[in-house]
């Protein structure tokens, strides 16, 4: 997959010198060294592999960055402009490319992004059984508690929920699961295994996806990534009113951060979520820091 999008000289080094399973991110900034994140740690990418000396690093040119976006769009920027407007582009396999450049707006609406100046290529991984240690705290009597997976970016939230969906299938919990994959990262365009019971609705907004999904697919569990806006919270409330359980993720580093997030006070006060799973990068992405109940009281700790 990376061979399709990366410039040849960068791909050659990544392919030959880096172990794919340890690769989390590739960051390219115009006229700056290419940075790779291996097991959550940043390194420069040089011709001979990773290096901590920036003088040996490969420098990303504007052309390199533009070509990555162009290749990732299958040479058809117009066909992925809706994603580009939201600042990212997802290619097969769930590889997400975050895009930075000049935003073109009209009437306060983003029309597109041009002159790409930096990109962040995030590589998804399937980490089998990474959700197992939290599984029993989330599942009770064939019912999934409303669960919020919390961590800063890049700590394995999406990997966690992907594995959780797969575990349900492996353990033959015959639940209809609607995966609301707003950025195509969870299912990776069908290339990442989500088990037998998942229906994946990709590239829809949360509210539209919840409404459409609940009406059309009658799910017992909805799994979605990165809630944050008021509209997302409305979507959660809509699901709650329909009696559908939800597992979602959110960016926050601690319980305090979570309490301070706009709109979340209402969710916490109403005890919408009965489990909060906190992850961190402390011992590599996916480090389970603790599980909290609806009163934000710790029910389990690890490490």
């Amino acid at each position: 997959m990376l061979g399709k999008i990366l410039p040849l000289h960068i791909y050659k080094t990544v392919d030959e010198k880096i172990h794919y399973n340890s690769l989390n991110e590739i960051r390219m900034r115009q006229n700056e060294p290419v940075v790779v994140y291996l097991n959550g740690q940043p390194f420069y990418l040089g011709e001979k592999g990773v290096t901590s000396n920036q003088n040996h690093a490969i420098i990303a040119t504007k052309q390199d960055i533009e070509n990555v976006v162009f290749s990732a769009s299958d040479f058809s920027i117009y066909s992925v402009n809706e994603q580009i407007k939201r600042g990212f582009l997802v290619v097969d396999g769930g590889v997400r490319i975050g895009i930075c450049g000049n935003i073109v707006s009209e009437n306060n609406q983003i029309k597109t992004i041009t002159h790409f100046s930096s990109i962040n290529i995030r590589i998804p991984h399937v980490v089998k059984n990474c959700s197992l240690s939290a599984f029993d705290a989330i599942v009770q009597n064939m019912t999934i508690r409303n669960t919020l997976v919390v961590s800063p970016p890049g700590c394995g939230k999406t990997t966690f929920i992907r594995d959780f969906i797969w575990q349900l299938s492996e353990k033959n919990y015959c639940l209809n699961i609607l995966v609301l994959d707003e950025r195509g990262e969870i299912g990776g365009g069908g290339l990442l295994n989500l088990g037998k019971f998942a229906d994946v609705l990709s590239f829809s907004t949360k509210l539209q996806g919840f409404e459409h999904g609940i009406r059309a697919l009658s799910p017992q569990l909805i799994v979605t990534d990165e809630i944050g806006s008021n509209q997302d919270i409305e979507a959660l409330e809509y699901a709650a009113n329909c009696g559908v359980n939800v597992m979602a993720t959110v960016h926050a580093a601690s319980v305090e951060d979570l309490k301070n997030k706009p709109g979340f006070d209402k969710l916490l006060k109403n005890k919408y979520f009965s489990r909060f799973v906190f992850l961190s990068n402390r011992q590599g992405p996916g480090t389970l820091e603790g599980i909290y109940n609806e009163n934000l009281v710790r029910v389990s700790t690890w490490s």
Binding site: L8, N67, S71, D74, S76, I77, Y78, N81
Partner: protein
């Protein structure tokens, strides 16, 4: 026997004249079909948002030379490198300045959002419209002329040989 020889000679010369006239006919067909291709991709870009390679693969054209050009362009996409040698491999109907303009057009194809891509194609189409008009005039003027010249040359050679 002589009469048969004369007829064969005239037919041969006419055929050579027709060969020359084909260039103008094919060139006109090529540009006309190219403009139809531009219309087709404009529609697809605006409505189905299909990928560029899919649109090109699905496009049917009667011009063999345009088929070649589109295949060459797909090969360039595969290589992730647009070079004139690959793009215009076996393309004989275009003049050098036209090749340059087409190369620039293909280099920008697929690089914009729908609105700007549509404008980009429309601008290019305005240029190809001029090419088409010129090619049509050339076809109307030179295609019959070369056939007639072929007949005349055939008759003249026959008269000399007689």
């Amino acid at each position: 026997m002589k009469l048969i020889m004369i007829l064969i000679l005239i037919a041969l010369c006419t055929y050579v004249g027709y060969g020359f006239s084909r260039y103008y006919i094919n060139r006109f067909e090529f540009i006309k079909e190219f403009r139809l291709f531009l219309s087709a991709i404009t529609l697809d870009i605006n409505f189905s948002h299909q990928k560029l390679a899919t649109m090109i693969e699905q496009h049917k054209t009667q011009s063999k030379e345009l088929n070649k050009l589109l295949k060459n362009f797909l090969a360039c996409l595969d290589k992730k490198k647009l070079d004139d040698d690959t793009l215009f491999n076996s393309i004989k109907l275009l003049k050098d300045d036209e090749k340059q303009t087409i190369a620039k057009f293909f280099a920008s194809l697929g690089r914009f959002d729908v609105e700007n891509q549509t404008k980009h194609i429309q601008n290019f189409d305005a240029i190809t419209e001029n090419w088409q008009n010129a090619a049509e005039q050339d076809k109307n003027r030179f295609a019959p002329l070369f056939v007639k010249l072929g007949i005349i040359v055939g008759v003249m050679i026959s008269l000399i040989l007689l």
